[in-house]
Amino acid sequence: MSGPQEISKGGKKTLGVALNLVPMIDLFSVCITFLLITAVWTQTGRISVDQSVQKPQKQQQTEPPKRLTILLDKNGYWVKFADLSRESIPKVDGKYDAAGLRKKVEEMKLPKDQKVIVAPEDQVAYSDMITAMDTCMSLGMANVVVADANSVAGEMEK
């Protein structure tokens, strides 16, 4: 019987209750099994872009638009804003310098709705493109689009 039992200690009577832990252990076992089966260990997310992949344009643009263009080539990043001269962020130890890019973009103090164009060359790895986009988005600039490197080559040469 697991009901209360009287225990006498030094003339005082107290009630001792035996707690049945078996249902609790059963519940824990079922909970843990269910939660382990339904657990999601890797959190996936998404980076959304509006399609802006353009075919190469042979005509040079006469007036560069006020946008931030980040070109990725085999040597590193090229960053250009509006009609300012382009700046280079070379690779460090053979890898793209995302920290350098972040620092450069932060120094520009651009508004959050600034349009950013990320234009990788064809051989640039997908992860490097994502890193460049993520760097801009983590600085609050959500208006990021992807373009072909050839379509921005004209404005980058100025």
């Binding site: 252990i25 996936t44 980076i47 399609q51 790895a125 493109m129 994502i130």
Partner: protein, 190 residues
């Protein structure tokens, strides 16, 4: 002194000869108590941890073994949209292989359109429009249009941009202009 009924004992049929307590010749019965406290502690901690990390949305997309997703800090929650998977071997749409990734190059498709992918995307769009016709209400129609343009690209991190560009262009031609790149979220500071 009150007389109480004895508790359970190991029966005399169990051979306890090998267990001798109390010196030579002693034959006292051994009772084994299983300490459940550490087990309950461990269960409590496990349940609390798993409840905290529980995700009601579950896994939105099944990750392919041959695709390593790039990592990023800023990423929104993933919704369920048509999925294009690009690994180093093959290009798949909704789990069905469409073409080999090695064939995806601009020199093979100068018009920037992949015909095989275009065909399956077109079929998917028609199927979507049949199953969910555009509503007459203007607001709902706008929402329908926005949702119908969404597509997810789940690509391996080493895939060259040329392949991504061709896939994106093909998707845009077939009406999927809102591209969502699947990433693995990185915790801040890592």
């Amino acid at each position: 002194m009150a007389i109480k009924a004895p508790g359970s004992r190991i029966g005399s049929s169990v051979n306890m000869k090998g267990l001798k307590v109390g010196g030579k010749g002693a034959r006292k019965a051994m009772l084994f108590d299983l300490n459940l406290t550490p087990m309950i502690d461990m269960f409590s901690i496990l349940v609390v941890f798993l409840l905290i990390t529980f995700s009601a949305t579950g896994e939105i997309l099944m990750q392919q073994n041959d695709i390593r997703l790039p990592k990023a800090y800023s990423g929104r929650a993933l919704d369920r949209y048509p999925l294009i998977g690009i690994s180093s071997q093959s290009l798949v749409f909704e789990g069905e292989e469409v073409m080999k990734t090695t064939l995806v190059a601009e020199k093979n498709f100068p018009d920037l359109r992949l015909p095989d992918l275009s065909k399956v995307l077109k079929a998917a769009r028609e199927s979507y429009e049949r199953a969910r016709p555009m509503p007459a209400d203007k607001e709902k129609a706008e929402k329908w249009l926005e949702e119908s343009r969404q597509i997810i690209i789940q690509a391996d991190e080493a895939i060259p941009f040329e392949v991504i560009r061709l896939v994106m262009t093909t998707a845009a031609i077939e009406g999927y202009s809102s591209i969502n790149f699947a990433i693995i979220k990185k915790a801040k500071g890592t």
